[in-house]
């Protein structure tokens, strides 16, 4: 297979009536998605989209958004999924950075689009394709086409010129300097992983696959293209189901899912609220997670209740496409302290644990984890400097064009030869599967006029978050800046998952002997405050203990 859209076309030819996607009460067949995306691709071309142009998707996860992404690929374009839960100011920056020719939106994102256009301050907005009926848009925005116009176009296949080296999408992730980075992923990157996944997991047309993460999250790439390549059904998880753990369990049960793929914080959340019954989810064959460490006690909770299910730990940053390694947990761990390795490299991938001089570390020694192979992104969108910083010449073949990606994860090779993650070499954290650069939060807080200085640190959290984001700040002299007001201001600039949950107002920032912010001391102060709060609230403390037990 050369391009991702060819998988859809193939399924639509073979089994046009087979169900491709289920979302709440809506369903769409492979034939319907194929025809609708052909029509929309024609509309995109008529709106001026050419090979390599970017098409921004300002659409929540839905069947319509899937049609949008396939249409972008068929029109030879690169799609840019935008997080519709992020503030307009941040999305606007991504839109400008991606330099999108066209943007697809609908009624559910009209208010967000109006706000983004308001932030444009004279810079041009892309052409808008409206995915439903009438649109009430401001700031001089007028849709180039409406869904009604799309339906009048031919549904016949159209010739696409793109090939495996063309980018599929640009996924924006948190950037340490305050500006999100756009990771470029090619058709070949995704195809290599999906073809491996189909073989390794044995995905077939009888599978019913979960679509849990939002589209700007790279795990969703495997859900979508894995399902389409295998001719399986994709069951998109409605966002409101996600909020209550017992409803999420009911969704897996009622949808008769065979594959569930999500971030560990969700699995942990379901374990803490004890919503899984013994031998629950009889249709489930495999459970996959990626994005952060899955606490062993929660894994034991799941494995004991679901003996018929296979459990897989996947590892890989966005820059190396979905995942680079996989570990099948052979049996339920014997104790809470058993460490779960990140497993064997997927086909065509390699993991290297290297020291500062780019030489392999000895067994048991900590080193920087690097990834090489077919999943490596070409780099960050229009940012050769950042690309050079982390996509490095291959240490074993410095004269070739081969590269390794420095993940920033610290790892060691255990006595069993497996690789274990042990932490980060920078200030990036994972919270609920989201990758967050604390520097981005700090830079954003620091830039507010009422803030003289801000420092953002993370402390370990016993709960769902994984890490608790903490912000200490010094207000400008004479300013009456309250924590509530600061959080409100940050909420207009950062997505909710990046907002600190602990705060401290200081007269001045603690500093070390080099004059730098004393982060260890700040962390300690936040840790002490958290412990004090927990011990002061016995009701909650007991409840947490009960959930963990």
């Amino acid at each position: 297979m050369k391009r991702l859209q060819d998988w859809l076309t193939l399924q639509a030819e073979r089994r046009p009536e087979a169900c491709a996607v289920v979302f709440g009460r809506q369903r769409a067949t492979y034939g319907e998605i194929e025809m609708a995306s052909n029509r929309l691709a024609r509309a995109l071309r008529a709106a001026g989209c050419r090979r390599g142009d970017r098409v921004a998707l300002l659409l929540p996860k839905s069947i319509q958004a899937l049609i949008g992404l396939f249409a972008a690929l068929k029109a030879d374009c690169i799609y840019v999924p935008l997080d519709t839960a992020s503030p307009a100011a941040r999305l606007r920056r991504m839109l400008v950075a991606s330099d999108s020719r066209c943007l697809l939106a609908n009624g559910s994102t009209a208010a967000l689009l109006n706000e983004m256009a308001g932030h444009a301050r004279g810079s041009a907005m892309p052409r808008v394709g409206w995915m439903d009926g009438g649109a009430t848009l401001h700031h001089g925005l007028t849709p180039e086409f409406y869904w009604g116009d799309v339906l009048r176009l031919s549904a016949a296949a159209l010739d696409s010129a793109n090939n495996e080296t063309d980018p599929v999408h640009i996924l924006f992730t948190s950037g340490s300097t305050g500006i999100p980075k756009g990771v470029v992923i090619t058709h070949a990157n995704v195809i290599h992983f999906v073809e491996w996944g189909i073989r390794y997991f044995g995905i077939s047309a009888s599978d019913r696959i979960s679509g849990h993460p939002p589209l700007h999250f790279d795990l969703s790439t495997f859900d979508i293209y894995g399902a389409v390549a295998g001719g399986a059904q994709l069951h998109l998880v409605p966002p409101e189901v996600n909020i209550l753990p017992h409803q999420l369990a009911a969704f897996i049960r009622d949808s008769e899912l065979t594959q569930w793929f999500s971030v560990p914080s969700i699995l942990n959340h379901m374990a803490r609220f004890a919503v899984i019954r013994t031998n629950d989810f009889p249709s489930l064959r495999r459970l996959l997670w990626c994005g952060e460490k899955f606490p062993t006690p929660a894994l034991i909770y799941w494995m004991r209740r679901l003996p018929h299910v296979e459990f897989f730990n996947l590892y890989g940053p966005t820059e190396t496409t979905i995942a680079s390694s996989c570990y099948r947990v052979p049996q339920c761990p014997e104790s809470d302290t058993v460490e779960i390795p990140i497993g064997e490299p997927c086909d065509g991938e390699r993991l290297l644990v290297l020291d500062e001089t780019m030489r392999p570390v000895a067994l048991g020694q900590a080193g920087d984890l690097h990834v090489a192979g077919v999943g490596l992104s070409p780099g960050y969108w229009r940012d050769p400097q950042k690309t050079r910083e982390v996509f490095l010449p291959h240490p074993e073949r410095p004269d070739s064009s081969d590269r390794v990606y420095r993940t920033g994860d610290l790892a060691k090779i255990g006595d069993d030869g497996s690789i274990y993650l042990i932490g980060r070499s920078d200030s990036q954290i994972k919270s609920r599967g989201y990758r967050i650069e604390l520097g981005e939060i700090e830079t954003t807080a620091h830039a507010l006029p009422e803030v003289q200085e801000a420092a953002v640190v993370a402390i370990d959290s016993p709960g769902l978050e994984g890490a608790t984001i903490c912000c200490a700040f010094v207000p400008c002299p004479g300013s009456e800046l309250s924590t509530l007001f600061l959080k409100k201001q940050l909420a207009e600039l950062l997505p909710h998952y990046m907002l600190p949950s602990r705060w401290m107002v200081l007269d001045r920032m603690p500093r070390n002997s080099h004059g730098k912010v004393d982060r260890p001391s700040l962390k300690e102060q936040f840790r002490r405050a958290a412990v004090h709060e927990r011990s002061a609230v016995p009701v909650q403390g007991e409840k947490e203990a009960a959930h963990v037990a």
Binding site: E240, V241, H246, R432, L464, L484, K543
Partner: protein, 86 residues
């Protein structure tokens, strides 16, 4: 039992004191505006348990109970009454 309005005020107080969120009105959609997600919803329920001194029966919580401050007020009223009856 506290009247519904007072319960709603208490919910508002928990939101601003514990989660540092200000909500425009008791009918603001907390789910659509992103105030509550999988993490903050659970945090809020734990704080409400603490404030009102009862245990939330999670399996009886529906998504619509989290829709607004007013709905949360009704949820607390209902669950407190159920706790008292036991």
């Amino acid at each position: 039992m506290l009247p519904e309005v007072e319960l709603a005020c208490e919910v508002q107080a928990v939101l601003s004191e514990k989660l540092m969120v200000q909500v425009a009105s008791p009918d603001t959609d907390l789910l659509e505006t992103g105030v509550l997600d999988s993490l903050t919803a659970v945090q809020l329920l734990l704080h409400l348990e603490e404030r009102f001194g009862f245990k939330v029966a999670m399996e009886e919580v529906e998504i619509e109970d989290l829709r607004s401050i007013r709905a949360l007020g009704r949820l607390i009223g209902r669950q407190k009454a159920a706790c008292a009856a036991v």
